[in-house]
């Protein structure tokens, strides 16, 4: 059981291979733009999970970083003519800078107060987005071109950009996995389990938390940047507090603190959205029911419960 490949346990390697195989097969049967949306939100959820699942920090304003990533990537592609990978990096970097500033403020408080400050800062970001002219207000940044990767590989074709999204997703996914299994990640888990003890062991807890916050916001921003390149539009929808709520749901449903949970959560949440959207507000209602069911019946989420049943960490 303990044999690992790059830190992945054997069941995790199997799950990983299944996931990658699905990435290859899925676009042949499913609408690729939909798949790309799932992947963007999956990466966003993974980033969010890094905070709540491994550092025990519930950020209730993570859409601010995702949404800002959307805006910056869209702006870079439309007005500066940046190539695709630079747009995504730009989205991530700006989100990370925001994360550094906002995180430094928020980690000074614990528990529900931490959540409240992140929420307030996200609302502040929303306000900035409605006021700054570069975001295009309620109209958003529209008709964003899909720039070529490195200025060479064009992405106009949906399948071309699909492979790029898969690539960025896997990069982020592996990155997060490595972070979790690094000594840094171990300290984060220690802080989650018992902050006082971690402090008494001599760890500078605040620095660890801040670092985790910045990493998480960077990845969230990059995920947002990808989304705006796929859809060619960046709007206020992605900065709202409701969007933050959805990502909490996604992660909770998949399983907090599991590696594959956020991905499964994103698949389920987006599929429901896709299939229920024509029937009025059933998306919202179903999301509500899932929240209630998760809290009342399976607090470990789909993958958490599955892992517990199979006695493996997924």
């Amino acid at each position: 059981m303990n044999t690992t490949i790059w830190g992945f346990s054997r069941p995790q390697v199997v799950a990983l291979l299944v996931m990658i195989a699905l990435f290859v097969v899925a676009p042949m049967v499913v609408y690729p733009v939909f798949l790309m949306k799932v992947l963007c939100f999956a990466l966003f959820a993974c980033a969010f999970n890094l905070l709540i699942g491994y550092a025990g920090l519930l950020s209730f304003g993570h859409s601010a970083y995702f949404g800002m990533g959307c805006y910056l990537a869209a702006y870079g592609a439309k007005h500066w003519g940046l190539s695709a990978e630079l747009c995504v990096l730009l989205g991530g970097s700006v989100a990370a800078v925001m994360g550094l500033v906002f995180g430094a403020i928020a980690i000074r408080r614990q528990g529900i107060y931490f959540s409240m400050i992140t929420l307030a800062l996200a609302q502040f970001t929303y306000f900035i987005c409605t006021q700054m002219s570069f975001t295009g207000g309620e109209d958003g940044i529209q008709q964003v071109p899909r720039p070529a990767v490195l200025g060479l590989l064009p992405l106009d074709n949906d399948m071309a950009i699909y492979w790029m999204v898969v690539g960025v997703f896997l990069l982020g996914f592996f990155g997060i996995f490595r972070i979790i299994h690094s000594p840094f990640g171990q300290v984060l888990k220690a802080i989650r389990e018992n902050e006082q003890r971690a402090i008494s062991l001599g760890y500078r807890v605040e620095q660890y938390k801040l670092m985790a916050f910045v990493l998480s916001t960077f990845i969230a921003g990059a995920a947002g940047g990808m989304k705006s390149l796929v859809f060619g539009i960046a709007t206020l929808s992605d900065v709202t507090w409701q969007a933050s709520g959805t990502i909490v749901l996604t992660t909770l449903l998949g399983g907090l603190g599991t590696i594959f949970g956020p991905v499964v959560g994103a698949v389920i949440v987006n599929t429901l959205e896709f299939y229920l959207a024509p029937f009025g507000s059933w998306v919202t209602i179903t999301q509500g029911v899932i929240f209630v069911a998760c809290v009342m019946v399976f607090r470990r989420g789909v993958i958490g419960e599955l892992g517990a049943k199979l006695k493996v960490a997924l």
Partner: protein, 295 residues
Amino acid sequence: MLMVFGYNLGPILGQGVLGVVNGAFYALLSLGLAVIFGLLNIINFAHGALYMLGAVVAWFLLNYLGIGYWPSLFIAPVIVGAFGVLLERTMISKLYKLDHLYGLLLTFGIALIVEGLARNQFGSSGLPYSVPESLRGATRLGFMIMPTYRLWVVVASFVICITTWLVLEKTPIGATLRAATENAALVQSFGVNVPRLVMLTYGAGVALAALAGVMAAPVYSVNPNMGSDVIIVVFAVVVIGGMGSILGSILTGFGLGLLEGFTKFLYPEASGVVVFVLMIVVLLTRPAGLFGKAS
């Protein structure tokens, strides 16, 4: 016209008065939220949805049963309060021992369900609810014309808030409730049925939200989104006032309305965000809120 610092005072006063009308709703809503948090330790994210439900019930009573505004002020909170009791018994009561997070997520889920159902039923453009006959018309305040109904809202909200505060602080029932939050087991051993007390408290908090909803219907029209638009602000009010502090919520609620009103005069676009700036400042300087006790 009155002039202060080169400003014409009329418009500032006008925006201030309109702000207090909003503040009256903030106060009523945060009052219920603070009662629930203070006594149950539950962060009731469903509060906005239940506020909306109050307005919807009033609309239903009027359009299907011909029951007007005044009876609705009583009936709608009772109906929604009963719904709250049901929620508490079947779900929320199972979570008291867990982290705050779970209560928040559960009630968030309930809010999504209630709002989604309402949106399916009514769309999102809002249903008109007319001002009751006896409160029609307007009052001249000198610097502006104020619809009588909005003045009524301010007065009614103020009276309800103060009454609730007095009940909790100055009566035996209030004393028992506060004791139960301090040490439930001890109060139980005195023969008080604590679970029932808690259940009724939740129902009462929810009824306050529904009451605010009925009062809001003629001002904002009955809109499925009215709760989610306001809930985040009301959360901020409770946090700023000091979580669980009744008086803190009331004062912060009215105060925020006033502050927003003045912001609307000086920098209208920022009126929606001023509350969050205030919350960040307060939490960083007084972690327990303006009126909260430091733990």
